[in-house]
C-alpha cells in the first residue's frame, strides 16, 4: 500500500482556487507593484548613465570615504565595459522596488511583532517558512497567479527577502535596554513618542542590518527570478547557463557581484554610525553646519569645570 500526504494537491488546489476567485486581488497587486516598478525604473533611467554612476560614487564618498568612491567608480566602469549597464540598471530597479515594498510591509510588521507577543508567535514560524523554502518554489505560484514577467519576479523577491527586516526590527526593538524604555516613560512619553523617539532610534543599527540583509537577499532572488522573465542581469546569467556559455555567465555574475558589493557597503554604512564616524543625522548636520559641530573643542579648554578631570 502506498501512503502519500496530498499536500502537493492541496497547494495546487489552493492556487487554482485563488486563480478562479481572487483574480481581482492579483490584478490589483499587479497594478500597484507594476506602477512602483515603473516609477523606480523611470527614475533610474531618466539620468544618463554617467549621471547615475556619479550619484553612486558621490554617495560612496559621503558614506564610506574616498577609497570606496574610487572602487565604486572603477567597478561601475567595469560594468559598462562588460556591456551590462542597462541590464544592471534594470536589476537595480527590481531590487529597489522589491526592497521598498518589503520594507513598507516588513518594518511595521516588525514593530507590531516587537510590541505584541501573540503577533510574534504567529509571525516567527511564517518567517522561518518564507526563508527556508527554496527560492525557486515561489516562482511557480507567482508565475501562475501573475503570469510571466517583472511583477511575479518582484513578488517572489519580496516574499523571499522580507524576513530579515521583520526579524531584526522586532529583535532590535525588543533589545532596547529596559532602563531606556523606563527613562522614556519617566519623562512622559506617550506610546507613540516612546516608539519613535526611544525604541526606533535605539534599534536603528539592528533595523539597518535587517534592511541590508533584505537588499542582499533581493539581489540574489532577482537573479533567480529571471527564470520567470523578471529581466535584468539575471537574463544574461540564465542565457549563459542555457547555452553553456561560460564567458557570458561569468560576465553576468561579475555584474551581480559588483552591484552586491556597492549596495552592501553603502547600506551598511547607515547602520553603524561608528564605522563612517558619523550617524546619518550627524553627518547631515555636520555637512550643513560645520561650525557648530566644532564648537565643543573650542570651549573645552575655556571652562575648567568639574567633570573635565574624569575625561580619562
Amino acid at each position: 500500500m502506498e501512503f502519500k500526504l496530498p499536500i502537493g494537491d492541496w497547494a495546487d488546489a489552493a492556487v487554482m482556487f485563488l486563480l478562479d476567485h481572487a483574480q481581482w486581488l492579483f490584478d490589483g497587486i499587479d497594478l500597484v507593484v507594476g506602477a512602483v516598478a515603473d516609477g523606480v525604473q523611470a527614475a533610474l533611467t531618466s539620468l544618463p548613465g554617467v549621471g547615475l554612476a556619479a550619484i553612486v560614487v558621490l554617495i560612496g564618498l559621503w558614506r564610506n570615504g574616498w577609497r570606496f568612491a574610487l572602487f565604486a567608480a572603477a567597478s561601475l566602469l567595469v560594468v559598462a565595459g562588460l556591456g551590462m549597464w542597462h541590464q544592471t540598471v534594470d536589476t537595480l530597479a527590481l531590487v529597489l522596488t522589491a526592497t521598498a515594498i518589503a520594507l513598507t510591509i516588513g518594518v511595521p510588521l516588525g514593530i507590531v511583532a516587537a510590541r505584541n507577543d501573540r503577533v510574534e508567535t504567529v509571525v516567527r514560524p511564517a518567517l522561518d517558512l518564507m526563508q527556508t523554502m527554496p527560492a525557486f518554489v515561489y516562482l511557480i505560484p507567482a508565475a501562475m497567479l501573475f503570469g510571466l514577467g517583472r511583477v511575479p519576479g518582484i513578488i517572489a523577491t519580496i516574499i523571499f527577502a522580507m524576513p530579515p527586516v521583520v526579524r531584526l526590527t522586532s529583535l532590535g526593538i525588543r533589545q532596547v535596554p529596559h532602563e531606556l524604555v523606563e527613562a522614556g516613560l519617566a519623562f512622559g512619553c506617550t506610546p507613540r513618542q516612546l516608539l519613535f523617539k526611544v525604541q526606533m532610534p535605539t534599534a536603528l543599527p539592528s533595523i539597518m542590518a535587517g534592511i541590508n540583509q533584505t537588499i542582499m537577499l533581493s539581489l540574489s532572488m532577482v537573479v533567480i527570478a529571471s527564470m520567470i522573465g523578471a529581466g535584468g542581469v539575471g537574463n544574461e546569467v540564465l542565457r549563459g547557463i542555457q547555452r553553456l556559455d561560460i564567458g557570458l555567465g561569468v560576465e553576468g555574475g561579475l555584474a551581480v557581484v559588483i552591484l552586491a558589493i556597492l549596495l552592501d557597503r553603502i547600506t551598511q554604512s547607515f547602520g553603524t554610525p561608528d564605522a563612517g564616524g558619523r550617524s546619518p543625522r550627524s553627518a547631515l548636520r555636520s555637512l550643513l553646519n560645520r561650525r557648530r559641530a566644532e564648537r565643543p573643542k573650542d570651549d573645552a579648554h575655556l571652562s575648567p569645570t568639574h567633570g573635565v578631570t574624569e575625561a580619562g
Binding site: 516613560l185 523617539k197 573645552a300 568639574h306
Partner: protein
C-alpha cells in the same frame, strides 16, 4: 504643613492574580506562604512614609529589598497593587493616562543607575529630552538644556555624544536631563552606584551643591550606607519589601529598630554620622563683646571659673573670637586700661560649622591651641569641642 510625597500602605504584588495574593495578605499570611501557595511575589509590602518638600530622602536596602520597585511606584513605572501615593496632596494612583503623562513631564524627574542616555542623541539633546517630549520649542530646549548642562559642569560638552564621555560625565548628563524641566521631585535610582568610588563621592558633592542652590524634593535609592548618610536628610531602611525604620541617620544609629538595621550600621564609621553640633559642649565661658565688658572683667571671669579660654560673642549671640587669659593680660599691659576684647583675640581660630562631620573635625581640633568653637548657620555660638570631649565621644560610641 502637608508632606510633598505621602506614601500610605502601598503594596505591590508581582504575578498573574495579585488580588488573590492581596486577600491572603489581609488574612495574615506571610510573603513566603503566599509564594508557596500561589506563586506570587510580594515586591513591596504595606510601605508608608512621608517626604517633606526640599529634603533628600534615601531609601536604603540590600538588593531584592524592594527599593527599586518602591521608587518606580512614585512615578508609576510600576503600578501599586494597593495603597495610595500622594504628591502635593493628589493621589497619583488614581490619575488617568493623560494626567499621569502630564505629571511625569511637569513634576517628576528621574535618574537611572545605567544612565539610560539615548546613544543617537547629542549631550544637549539628551538633556533636552524631557522638554522635547513635552513639546517645547527648539530654542527653549536649547536654552534650558544648556542651563542644565552648565549647572552640572558639562556646558562645554553639549555637542558631544554620550559614548564620548566617561561614566561620571554621562551621569551628569542624566542629572541634567532630570533637572532640565525643573521638576519639583527628583527620583534617583542607584544613580551613582555604577560609578567608581572617587567619582561617586564627587557626584554626591555635586548633588548636595545643586540641592543647596535650589531645594528640590529628592528620593534617592541606594544600597550604600556611606552614601545614604552622606547625602540623606532622612533614611528609610527596607528589608524584604517592608520598610523597617525611617529617621535621620543619627536617630537610626542611636536606636536601630532591629538587628538587620544594626548590622547595616555595624561597619559604619560614627565619625561620618555625628557632626560637630552633636559633640559640642556648652561648658566654656562665654563673654559678651560690648563696651561695658573689658579685658579686666574677662580675666576675672575666667579665673573665677578656672578656665583658660573665653568665647566672645556680640550682643546678638554671633560668635566673634576666642581670647585666653594670657592674651588678655598682655593686651591690658600693652594698652594700659584702654584695651578692648578685640585686641586679645587669638589669631587663626576658625569656628567649626555645626554640621561638619566628626571625621573632619578631628584634624582641626588636633592642631588648634584651644577647644574649637562651633557655630550654626547664622554664625551664632553653639558650643566648643575640646580634644578630650572628642575622644570621649569616640570611646562612648565604639
Amino acid at each position: 504643613m502637608t508632606a510633598k510625597i505621602a506614601v500610605n500602605g502601598v503594596t505591590r504584588i508581582f504575578g498573574r492574580h495579585p488580588r488573590q495574593a492581596l486577600d491572603l495578605l489581609k488574612a495574615g499570611l506571610s510573603k513566603e506562604e503566599i509564594f508557596k501557595r500561589t506563586g506570587q511575589t510580594v515586591g513591596v509590602l504595606d510601605a508608608s512614609f512621608e517626604v517633606e518638600a526640599g529634603e533628600i530622602f534615601v531609601i536604603m536596602g540590600l538588593s531584592g529589598s524592594g527599593k527599586s520597585t518602591l521608587v518606580r511606584m512614585l512615578n508609576r513605572l510600576i503600578d501599586p497593587t494597593a495603597g495610595e501615593i500622594r504628591i502635593d496632596g493628589r493621589d497619583i494612583t488614581k490619575l488617568s493616562r493623560a494626567e499621569l503623562t502630564e505629571l511625569r513631564r511637569r513634576d517628576l524627574g528621574m535618574v537611572f543607575q545605567s544612565f539610560a542616555l539615548l546613544p543617537h542623541l547629542r549631550v544637549w539633546e539628551n538633556a533636552a529630552f524631557g522638554l522635547e517630549i513635552a513639546g517645547e520649542s527648539l530654542k527653549a530646549r536649547r536654552d534650558k538644556a544648556q542651563q542644565a548642562l552648565d549647572a552640572v559642569g558639562l556646558g562645554a560638552y553639549a555637542e558631544s555624544f554620550p559614548r564620548e564621555l566617561s561614566g561620571g560625565m554621562q551621569q551628569r548628563v542624566g542629572l541634567a536631563r532630570a533637572l532640565a524641566n525643573e521638576p519639583s521631585v527628583l527620583l534617583m535610582d542607584e544613580a551613582f552606584s555604577a560609578l567608581d568610588p572617587l567619582i561617586r563621592t564627587e557626584m554626591q558633592d555635586e548633588l548636595l551643591r545643586l540641592q543647596a542652590e535650589r531645594q528640590r524634593t529628592i528620593v534617592f535609592i541606594s544600597h550604600d550606607l556611606d552614601e545614604a548618610i552622606r547625602i540623606g536628610d532622612r533614611l528609610a531602611i527596607m528589608e524584604g519589601g517592608q520598610i523597617i525604620q525611617v529617621g535621620r541617620p543619627d536617630e537610626i544609629l542611636k536606636q536601630p529598630a532591629n538587628d538587620y538595621v544594626r548590622s547595616f550600621f555595624r561597619n559604619i564609621d560614627v565619625t561620618k554620622i555625628l557632626t560637630a553640633g552633636d559633640i559640642a559642649r556648652r561648658d566654656q565661658v562665654t563673654l559678651i563683646r560690648h563696651t561695658g565688658e573689658g579685658p579686666r572683667a574677662a580675666v576675672r571671669q575666667l579665673r573665677e571659673r578656672d578656665r583658660e579660654f573665653g568665647y566672645v560673642q556680640d550682643g546678638r549671640r554671633r560668635f566673634h573670637g576666642v581670647v585666653s587669659v594670657e592674651t588678655l593680660v598682655s593686651a591690658i599691659e600693652r594698652h594700659n586700661g584702654s584695651a578692648t576684647l578685640d585686641e586679645a583675640l587669638l589669631p587663626g581660630i576658625e569656628p567649626l560649622p555645626v554640621d561638619l562631620p566628626m571625621d573632619e573635625v578631628l584634624p582641626r581640633i588636633a592642631s588648634a591651641p584651644c577647644p574649637l568653637p562651633v557655630v550654626d548657620g547664622q554664625g551664632a555660638y553653639v558650643g566648643a569641642i575640646s580634644k578630650t570631649a572628642y575622644l570621649e565621644t569616640l570611646g562612648r560610641t565604639r
